[in-house]
Symmetry: C2
DNA sequence: GTCTATACAACGATAGAC
DNA sequence: GTCTATCGTTGTATAGAC
């Protein structure tokens, strides 16, 4: 089926680390395009120009490849978020900026939206990853809302934990609507604006 | 419109319908247990007691079987929702009751949460189904919030369309958190209570 | 350590017999 | 309407070239 490139065509064998990065790039792109389940290891390897057992030398399984993609993507996003917060940006403003950046990369949004739902199953290879991720984001949001509460800025009758879960739920849910309408007619959903409205709604009047 | 195309002119439907129902029952159960992708046609057919080409005689593809399951599930849910509204229940109270019922059926919640994310892709067999579903729910919510607005009950600065999208986003997002924590320690997430908090947050103070 | 080649069981789907 | 047989593709495992 595919014309497998020979090692010589790719510059020899001494490319271990570089090949790994190429695989990660290729996999992140393909997972984002067609989803994790639909993407095949043979297609990822073909795009890199190696055989699929060649890929499996760098990543022991498809699940391991997925996890590496997730960790890598998270490092990039987390770095941008941390930079914002370190620069003095308000926590929720920094969240809005994350959403703004995501709106520019539908492929990544699709990957995370699909995976966070799949990974809900305890047996899914990315389950522990997403569990930890949700715990972290919710904990940080609870802290921020608790500070609001102390300053009398949190809407009465809503606990910080519930507010935190609603914020995270809105970020997740908006992604699905954003993706669902991306090919349709009319103006596209502005996720960042909707998130701002949600933050306002949780603010004391 | 639907992809469940029957061979229009065919004689013997008498026994076919019963088998069809058995397949639908079995598929809905298995999809809910292990998810759409993990479930195999061979397993569904084995539970019914036929071969998998036998199943494919009733449903042209795995995707067509999925769509039939979704339509069937939706009819049941919609009937319960409509009954609530017909009995004079407020629109948002009826939504909360939908969520309450869902909390009793994690398998169905997982099926819908996973699929609504997957079906985001325009090529997915259930894409058109979910697109229509979202349009309907959002339209109904917009109507309800517009009535709120006329009565001065909608929080100032939030448009009915944005409020509607936030409600739907919260319902979707809470499902992911609910599923993600279902096997973990501690008390389980109360989706209905969180949805009530969200509705309160969108109410004029 | 890096990679190709090959084999395997399970999958969705199709063809044709009864 | 349901079967057996078969196809191409998938994730994965192993053997071995350099």
């Amino acid at each position: 089926m595919t014309a497998t490139a020979h090692p010589a065509a790719r510059g020899g064998y001494a490319k271990g680390r570089a090949t790994r990065e190429e695989i990660l790039d290729s996999a992140m792109r393909l997972f984002g395009e067609v989803g994790y389940h639909t993407a095949s290891l043979r297609e990822v390897s073909a795009r890199v120009g190696i055989s699929h057992p060649g890929l499996l030398h760098h990543f022991a399984s498809k699940a391991a490849l997925l996890e590496a993609v997730l960790v890598r993507r998270d490092e990039i996003d987390q770095a941008a978020f941390d930079a914002d917060v370190a620069a003095g940006t308000d926590f929720f403003d920094a969240l809005v900026r994350v959403v703004e950046r995501n709106a520019e990369r539908p492929g990544i949004v699709e990957l995370f939206a699909t995976l966070s739902a799949e990974a809900t199953s305890p047996e899914h290879p990315a389950h522990r990853y997403f569990e930890a991720r949700y715990r972290t984001v919710i904990d940080q949001s609870v802290s921020a809302f608790t500070r609001w509460q102390s300053a009398g800025r949190l809407r009465a009758g809503i606990e910080p934990l519930v507010a935190a879960r609603l914020i995270v739920a809105v970020m997740d849910g908006l992604q699905v609507q954003f993706l669902m309408e991306r090919d349709g007619p009319g103006a596209q959903l502005d996720m960042a604006a909707a998130l701002r409205a949600q933050i306002d709604a949780l603010r004391a009047p």
